[in-house]
Symmetry: C2
Subunit: 199 residues, 2 copies
Amino acid sequence: MNKRHYDSEETRSLIADKAARLFAQKGFAGTSIADISRESGCSKGHIYYHFENKEKLFVYLALETMRSWKERWEAVSVNYGTAVEKLHAMASFVHNNYKTPLLQAGQELGSNPATSPETVTKLRGLASTPMQAYYEIFKQGMETGEFDLREEELESTGFLFGTLLGGLCQYLYTMENEPLEALFQRSVTIFVHGICRKG
Amino acid sequence: MNKRHYDSEETRSLIADKAARLFAQKGFAGTSIADISRESGCSKGHIYYHFENKEKLFVYLALETMRSWKERWEAVSVNYGTAVEKLHAMASFVHNNYKTPLLQAGQELGSNPATSPETVTKLRGLASTPMQAYYEIFKQGMETGEFDLREEELESTGFLFGTLLGGLCQYLYTMENEPLEALFQRSVTIFVHGICRKG
DNA sequence: TATTAATTAGGACGTTCGTTCAATTCCATC
DNA sequence: GATGGAATTGAACGAACGTCCTAATTAATA
């Protein structure tokens, strides 16, 4: 017995895909249901068949995006040994998989006084998923002696690394892929070595 | 002869102030003329007496913000000698004076297909003002031998530094001042020294 | 005090927004 | 091939949007 009639499930994820791209590109308020309808090719009414409302749709997208991001990173990261290798891998991974603009849209929605408290709560913890992943890498680097870090510097280091990668994601839609990838990689180099002339 | 009747000029800059804060906090689409009217305490019609429309208002704010930012930085920066000192000063300056969220709102507006081409053009060059300032510092550091940089790395270094500071500005409205300032300063330290175990 | 031009308010406009809902189409099953 | 529930549509709703227009208010000048 097949529970799936029509292409309902596919339609749902098509809507989700298109909506995620639109939210990432134009922000929460900047994206209308009509936009999503046009882009996905299905009626406005049908969007409301799959999702309760615009806010819930966004929260679903944000949470799901982060869950899948974490899952895929954990699958990828085992292929890299040292912390430095992992940082480079992470830079590429974020460049290709991260939907930071979606996080920004989340901030936009979260800071709006009209947003429901439950939504704000759910959105609050969103950024902690990638931050945790960054933290783990720097922790490893500290433990193996690759990095010269003190315990209390770990969190802020991961935070800043994530902020830089996140900032670079702003250029995903306006910059060529190749030079952007170079910037992602150079971010790692700078974090690791700095730019100071050594003794 | 006084050209200023009433407090028109003051009212205009009051509108500009409130509008800038709102745009920075809630984005371009997320901020309504009614919001600005409520916040500034003057009528919607009066906003249109001072500004042609919402788009032009935003462009004015963005350009004016950047112009004033540059002016004030140039006044401040002469108090610092070395490139490292200037980087720390810049971090503090951005923390206290930069309206990066306004730049993000600019990207939001600029990437909207409905936005007029002239506006897009004006917005395009916005980010280059601070980037130029960052570039200058790293160039100085390279020339004085403080930094170990090659000519062709200058631009990307300034770009990344600006991206990191800009990313940190996202937390202006959600984080306490003191720990945020610490993150700004630590950004400089990491950029300068990196985190790799030396020798 | 009367006149005038600059300033401000507030409501009306057409449009677009998020949302709802009745009607229709589709497919699995009988 | 008829039936029923799931999938999908498209029109319609009130609210909110950006913008415009007219009327009221103000302060300077005559």
